[in-house]
Symmetry: C2
Amino acid sequence: MTAEQARDIWVEAPPGHAVVAIEDGRIYGTAKMGPNKPGPGSHISTASFMVAGEARGKGVGTALCRYALDWAREHGYAGMQFNAVVETNVTAVEIYKRLGFTVIGTVPGAFEHPVQGRVGLHIMFCPL
Amino acid sequence: MTAEQARDIWVEAPPGHAVVAIEDGRIYGTAKMGPNKPGPGSHISTASFMVAGEARGKGVGTALCRYALDWAREHGYAGMQFNAVVETNVTAVEIYKRLGFTVIGTVPGAFEHPVQGRVGLHIMFCPL
């Protein structure tokens, strides 16, 4: 993927919003957030996160998710929904649960994991 | 919404696919279908439907949903996922259940209904 393709996917037009997590001038992670659906679903937000491999376990994901929840609360969203959390990504699932998310349901085998094969995708929700 | 705006939203580029339900030269409904997500989620399909008000109760929705499931099966998808089924749309929910879908979970209050206020959105799934 080129930088331009990645930017098109990640950086959405307002009201969408994207941020990076920086320490000592280095980018260790990024989050994007915005309405989960248009029109009659636009009072629910969603967010996505990426954390650099070398920054794992340092709280970057937690900081980004906290930021996204604060942003959504400030912008009047009634909740935040994650549409596709890989169920075997237990680190992410635990962070989300600690910050107030619950698993609404799991779509069986919906993610083709490069190592684990087909695993489920959680839909997760946090009321705001 | 102009016809052109509607077309842009409804008619997706291949592998996406859109059809209409016609009787005596009149269009009574339409369906769109395709991969639910890109990349490692692209083996799961999704579909959306619209049925004209005057055609309700005539089996148009059932015919369109059957078509979508057949199309997805023929194209090798492992399942079909609906991301946002309004829980108070019991006609649609019953059709989907009869055709093999189950409710994976319900996001509370995620749809702003013009009459009923905020109601839940079901995530539904049918293995193929």
